[in-house]
Amino acid sequence: MRHRSLERDGRAPFLFLAPLFVLLCAFILFPVIMNMVVSFADWKGYGRLKWIGLSNYRAMMHDGAFWTSLWNTASLVCYIPVSVAVTVFVAALLREGLGGWKVYRAILYVPNLLGLVIIGAVFSIYLRDDGPLNLALKWATGSTLPFLTSPVLAINSIGMIKVIWVHLGFGLIYFLAAMNGIDQGVYEAAIIDGAGFFRTLRHITVPSIRFAIEFWVVFNFVEVFSRMFSLIYTLTRGGPAYATFTLEYGIFVQAFEKFHTGYSGAWSVVLFLFCAVISIAQIRLMRQGRA
């Protein structure tokens, strides 16, 4: 088969790839590299660069907001197993084909369509201290919960919103498609042997969709590290104080509110390292799967 490699397509492929790579170099590669460069400088985003070595990194190590951002990210990571459990469980229930399951699936998908800005705006109203949920709580229990205004609760509210409203609907479609590939006969045999819902879930469904679950976990990591900004911006603007900062949000505040662009570069390098690891994990999964 060696001679086949001689029939290459010459330069034509590079013409087809040119638009993509021009855009990628200008808008992704160049920004990532420039962030690393400016992280060693004092820079406001315009004017001259002043090289200051590792000072930005030293400042970051003493910045409470930086550690809070990491801690918040860790809290959101804790919601990943919750998301896996809830989504797989509900998908397995819907798989049973109970009456109306298609309608359930469609309704649960609606929040997903609306995008993070709308979801953030909806919950900024719903979870206010004087919002509908708290009015109902007050009527039922006599007290209210500061869902968005208490530092401890706010980040957890964001975690729950992600699990139930942002991801559930999409995850159901994804897992139901994966479960559709399982041979129905296996279930029938198990049911004849007297296996109930939880036993078939544990011994048939979960092992059969292992690959889909791994993908879902990686996808959730991507979401936590790289897709939180829009939700946080519309829901809490990073507050109260730094309580809902993530690395992304910190970069935004440093670069565009305080104009410490060089310093935001140091945060960017940390975020880049996390994302590089996730990206490599994802590529390995993709290559195992289909690509």
Partner: protein, 279 residues
Amino acid sequence: MKRASSIGAGWRGLVQVFLLGLIFVSILPLYNVVAASFKSTDEFVVNPFFPPLAPTLENYVYAAVGARLLHYAVNSLILVPLGVVLYLVVCVSAGYAFGKMRFRLRLPLFLVVLFLLIFPQLLLATQIYRLISLMHLANTAAGVVLSWGAYFSPFGTYIMTTYFAAMPYELVEAARMDGASHPRILVQVMTPLAAPMVATLGIIGFQSMWNELPFSLLILQDQGSRTLTLGIAMARGEYGVRVPILSAAVVIGMVVPLVFFLVFQRRITLGATAGALKG
């Protein structure tokens, strides 16, 4: 025929109750926003929870005209389709090269694309903002469309590459025999055959760009050039505490994605499983 179920008859009712509860929890916040949007500010104070007793459209008028959301919606309806066209051209062309052409560096370049798939927008935003300003593209359609096209293209390229790669190579070979060039093969043979996937990708691109915030927030700083999504994101600060007006703004923001869903429901459902990694 009914599927055999592992859930005993006695439990089925309980499961239905659980699922209905889940639906209730998931719909309630949306119901609240819709209900509040039809209440006057005075009514909202005394009746924050139940459906409006004296429904009014004044919030909608204020949000659409006074707060210019209608104007922003028009901006979105111009910018997003432009972005989708750029996105499709870039991804179909690159997907064809990766999926159906033979060349040195094919795998390494494809891995670079996959590597760039998940980077956060905020990691890029500072430098993109600077680049856009240097090119005098701040507040322009070109600025935001190019950034969207670039940011979402690794995902689209991945999807098109796997789709083209799965198509039989004989299609390309036969056309080559007939003396067709690669651009002709792509435009006249492969793209029509890949039309279902191109359409699905167009829908995914539309949704991603319609809901996009960070780049439009930084590039479209001039109020008149805002997208609808950006207008709603900014609304919170601008209308202060007037929940009914903010609610009307949010409902206006829901219209296009929901209409889109009703029209393309099947394709959106399929698209969701095409890749678990949409941007």
